[in-house]
Amino acid sequence: EAGVTQSPTHLIKTRGQQVTLRCSPISGHTSVYWYQQALGLGLQFLLWYDEGEERNRGNFPPRFSGRQFPNYSSELNVNALELEDSALYLCASNWGRAAGTEAFFGQGTRLTVV
């Protein structure tokens, strides 16, 4: 069974540009979570999508946005990139609002903003 897959694995962007990151959850999972892992800061929760709807967002500016498609895959968009957006972006999936279910993480997308 395929795990959570993310693409691309690495990318480099220039400050001010826009970027789209993609995530495919494990088959059968309806929820996708996005996290930012910046150096020395641990994981910071970004967004949660379930059944195509945004259910919660973390303390990030509106230029961080995303969506979930009918097949439950998800995109994370970041506009007007800033240097401090350089981080590993992790996607996770599970069965959503069934409390206590484990989240399975992808390998992440390493974004470097120069």
């Binding site: 795990g3 959570v4 929820s31 979570y33 020395g40 800061l41 641990g42 994981l43 910071q44 929760f45 949660w48 259910r55 919660n56 992790l90 996770a92 599970n94 609002r97 409390a99 206590g100 279910t101 484990e102 989240a103 399975f104 993480f105 992808g106 390998q107 992440g108």
Partner: protein
């Protein structure tokens, strides 16, 4: 305020030695506690979790953790470390809802032969 502290940024041990990674938390209700491992180039993998019951929790790869409510701690232990255990370890606390988990800043484990 809810928070997780992993006091050790970097730990180095010899292969075969015992290991203890510290995790302290501040949380207003009964916490759900997790330990994740992130190997180089890999995503996070759940090692173990504590929801209720026995305060000593067994996980994968020979790891265990003990919940001590009086000390607000959930330390991760392994009796004999293998070189393949070199990775970054994250403690997390929260309700059972994934979007509300609070992660620590991680402890990087280096293993010498």
């Amino acid at each position: 305020a809810q928070s997780v502290t992993q006091p050790d940024i970097h730990i180095t041990v010899s292969e075969g030695a015992s290991l203890e990674l510290r995790c302290n938390y501040s949380y207003g209700a009964t916490p759900y506690l997790f330990w994740y491992v992130q190997s180089p180039g890999q995503g996070l993998q759940l090692l173990l979790k504590y929801f209720s019951g026995d305060t000593l929790v067994q996980g994968i790869k020979g790891f265990e953790a003990e919940f001590k409510r009086s000390q607000s701690s959930f330390n991760l232990r392994k009796p004999s470390v293998h070189w393949s255990d070199a990775a970054e370890y994250f403690c997390a606390v929260g309700p059972p809802n994934t979007d509300k988990l609070i992660f620590g800043t991680g402890t990087r484990l280096q293993v010498f032969p």
